[in-house]
């Protein structure tokens, strides 16, 4: 029998029981600060999207899909001098629209889908990191939609989303200057603060500061950078940046293999 939702009023808010549990004070086990978790990456798995990629690193699982290029909304823009290599003038360049979503069950507390400010900020970070790599001048008056869905947050979620988005764009056949590889870092507090590469969720929660770096490995250009917390002086952040760039370079061969396999799979599937 359906309950009478008008008269029976349940509690307005709900909390997970862990909030009231005693603090578990076991610090995460000591580990090599430069270790990267093994990564599983696969491109070309969604049939409805132009390009897609799934990335798993430790407990972090991200699924990314790319659609487009399709006609951009928005008014007429003026013309200007054309860029080099037959690209459209600056006002007619294509647009990249990024969307970052967390599944409600991805973190410790349930979060309803319109996640508010944090998801918008991460979507903007995705866009700023992917724009240097994509040749938007070759898609005038068009827009590309990239949507990243975080299925489970096991640490360095933004970095995994960046890498998955770049793989999805490459899988969709969008013209790019280079792939974008993302890497997360966090500063473990303690008597001697050390920067840890590719932190797990537990390490991220106890961290004093966090940093996500996006690198274009062949061009050796930093495409994106987002960090905050009590990281200390600039030397400490510079050391973290170097560690992150090195981690991105180490991750690159895995992604190359993933794209080659996806291309082979596609050519085997369509006999032409």
């Amino acid at each position: 029998m359906p309950g009478d939702h008008r008269r029976i009023r349940g509690p307005e808010e709900s909390q997970p029981p862990q909030l009231y549990a005693a603090d578990e004070d076991e610090p995460p086990a000591a580990r090599d600060p430069t270790r990267l978790r093994p990564v599983y990456a696969r491109a070309g798995l969604l049939s409805q999207a132009k390009g897609s990629a799934y990335l798993e690193a430790g407990g972090t699982k991200v699924l990314c899909a790319v659609s487009g290029p399709r006609q951009a909304e928005g008014g007429e823009r003026g013309s200007g001098p054309a860029g080099a290599g037959g690209e459209a003038p600056a006002a007619l360049r294509g647009r990249l629209l990024c969307d970052f979503r967390r599944a409600p069950f991805s973190g410790r507390r349930r979060r309803a889908p319109p996640g508010g400010g944090e998801e918008r900020e991460l979507a903007l970070a995705l866009q700023e990191a992917l724009e240097p790599a994509v040749r938007l001048g070759r898609y005038p008056r068009a827009q590309l939609e990239v949507s990243a869905l975080l299925l489970e947050d096991g640490g360095s979620a933004l970095a995994a989303a960046l890498t998955a988005a770049a793989l999805a764009l490459a899988d969709a056949g969008i013209e790019m200057y280079d792939l974008v590889v993302g890497c997360g870092l966090s500063l473990a507090p303690g008597p001697v603060p050390t920067w840890l590469l590719d932190p797990t969720r537990l390490e991220e929660e106890r961290a004093a500061a966090g940093l996500t770096v996006a690198l274009m490995p062949v061009l050796n250009q930093v495409a994106g950078l987002l960090g905050s917390g009590e990281g200390g002086q600039t030397e400490s952040w510079a050391e973290a940046l170097r560690l992150g760039l090195e981690g991105c370079q180490r991750l690159y061969p895995v992604l190359q293999q993933c794209l080659v396999r996806a291309a082979r799979r596609r050519s085997a599937a369509s006999p032409s």
Binding site: G117, L225, G227, G229
Partner: protein, 291 residues
């Protein structure tokens, strides 16, 4: 952000000038435009400040209200930021146009204050789990002339310095019911310590060099900028790359060093100005909006 249409010749002129360490208005690459700061401009707030940096005009109001602490941090108060890009600043902000930029700036402000040392949140607690002070920091963008983030962070620091939170006591009587008592003396208030409040320094990459405090024209020539939030002691609390271009790792290291240098100078001059203004007392001549 407000955009300005520049011809190719103007862009080349600006870029070549910057390579020689000479900008269009005669500054060097690490010079700020002259900044005007005035606090206590709005009477209905707990603290307010107005900052004018070249053509950029920012007004910040801080209101302290009592609320319930967050569940994860029961003995701390918190800050809430809201940024409104008014349509006066540029016609592009009419209607909902300024919302995206407003959310971006608000998220950056949340990020730079998201650590234990910037503001002492424990002093904002009244009684754990029940009452705490919530500081609503509202930023109004009146005019956009380039370098928004720096001007906004200076204004927020000045407004927090000016904030006066009334002293309250929680009285508990025999039955256990609590009552909140506000002090009778209107001048009996808590002041916040802004020693560790960071300021944002935006460095725009133009050609092979980077500039501090870019005007709208210089921002149009720059493809990528680095935003660093640095405190007076040189501690960096936030770093972010902004823009659609990419940055060389070597230039990022140089930009971080520059931001530390420039940040220290900015903080010392801001602190001295704020203390000087405070020492003039309530009888000082207020300039307000017509000066």
């Amino acid at each position: 952000m407000a955009s300005v249409a520049l011809s190719e010749a103007e862009k080349v002129y600006i870029v070549h000038g910057v390579q020689e360490d000479l900008r269009v208005d005669g500054r060097s690459c690490e010079d700020y435009r002259s900044v005007e700061v005035e606090t206590d401009v709005v009477s209905n707030t707990s603290g307010s400040a107005r900052v004018k940096l070249g053509h950029t005009d920012i007004l910040v109001g801080v209101k302290a209200e009592m609320g319930t602490p967050k569940l994860e941090k029961p003995s701390e108060g918190y800050l809430e930021f809201f940024v409104d890009c008014s349509a006066n600043a540029t016609p592009e902000f009419e209607g909902r146009g300024g919302d995206d930029l407003g959310t971006e700036i608000a998220n950056t402000l949340y990020r730079i204050f998201n650590n234990k040392s910037s503001v002492d949140l424990k002093s904002l607690c009244i009684s754990p789990r029940e009452h705490c002070w919530v500081l609503y920091v509202d930023v109004l963008l009146l005019e956009c002339g380039g370098n928004l983030f720096d001007a906004i962070s200076i204004a927020v620091k000045a407004a927090l310095f000016n904030t006066r939170i009334p002293r309250v006591r929680v009285l508990e009587d025999e039955e256990g019911s609590k009552d909140i008592e506000l002090s009778d003396d209107p001048y009996d208030c808590i002041r916040l310590s802004v020693e560790n409040v960071p300021c944002i320094v935006t460095l725009c990459k133009i050609g092979y060099r980077h500039v501090v405090d870019a005007t709208l024209q210089e921002e149009a020539c720059s493809l990528a900028s680095l935003l660093v939030s640095v405190t007076s002691k040189g501690v960096v609390t936030c770093m972010r790359k902004v823009g659609k271009g990419s940055l060389d790792p070597e230039s990022i290291f140089e930009m971080m060093e520059t931001s530390k240098r420039v940040g220290k100078v900015l903080h010392t001059s801001l602190q001295s100005i704020l203390h000087k203004e405070e020492s003039l007392g309530p009888k000082r001549q207020k300039v307000g909006f017509l000066g």
